[in-house]
């Protein structure tokens, strides 16, 4: 059975901290891994990772994929209260996607 496991499930940090969110997977027919941020409504796209070892970066957020060890991490540096959200990891395996349960990040001032 396909599995995508995110850790931790929830996290509370102070503004300015650096956080690392984890996503491990056991999925047949892996195509790519996606990261999304969900605030109040629909998830918004952050990154798509297909190749191992290549870092994707956008401002204070970065992500990397390890296809040998079957995991990805999402790093957020210098966190701000606006980073408070649920972060979702999804693995594309052909047509369906398998989502993890998400990590709820709370950033307090």
């Amino acid at each position: 059975e396909d599995k995508v496991v995110q850790s931790p499930l929830s996290l509370v940090v102070h503004e300015g901290d650096t956080v690392t969110l984890n996503c491990s997977y056991e999925v047949t027919n892996f195509r790519s891994l996606l990261w999304y941020k969900q605030e109040k409504k629909a998830p918004t796209f952050l990154f798509m990772l297909t190749s191992s070892g290549i870092e994707k970066k956008s401002g204070r957020l970065s992500s990397i994929l390890d296809k040998k060890e079957l995991f990805s991490i999402l790093n957020i540096t210098a966190t701000q209260t606006g980073d408070s959200a649920i972060y979702l990891c999804a693995v594309v395996k052909g047509t369906p996607l398998v989502f993890g349960k998400g990590t709820r990040l709370s950033v307090i001032a």
């Binding site: 195509r31 998830p43 796209f45 999804a90 369906p96 996607l97 349960k101 998400g102």
Partner: protein, 116 residues
């Protein structure tokens, strides 16, 4: 620039009632999906479609039916609603990029359904 539109956004039903959620996308995407999201459970796939006239079951299909009569629309039906179907429902679509399905999902704003 609508993207993915879901209607209705909110609905309250009584147990046993039926209803249909409509998802429309204007990006000419081949793939469409219905997910439900419950606290602590992430997004769980209900049904999906790889093209007009085709549908397939996802992880939690029981109690739901779907139809994709037109490429741009994907309907989710509840024939006899149950309290366990209280949830937030998200529709999403994705392009099939030259036969390589690695593309990003585009989500609708969500539909909050409460079954009493």
């Amino acid at each position: 620039n609508a993207g993915v539109t879901q209607t209705p956004k909110f609905r309250v039903l009584k147990t046993g009632q039926s209803m249909t959620l409509l998802c429309a996308q204007d990006m000419n995407h081949e793939y469409m999906y219905w997910y439900r999201q419950d606290p602590g459970m992430g997004l769980r796939l209900i049904h999906y479609s790889v093209g007009e006239g085709t549908t397939a079951k996802g992880e939690v299909p029981d109690g739901y039916n779907v139809s994709r009569l037109k490429k741009q629309n994907f309907l989710l039906g509840l024939e006899s609603a149950a309290p366990s179907q209280t949830s937030v429902y998200f529709c999403a679509s994705r392009a099939n990029l030259a036969g390589v399905t690695t593309g990003e999902l585009f989500f609708g704003e969500g539909s909050r359904l409460t079954v009493l």
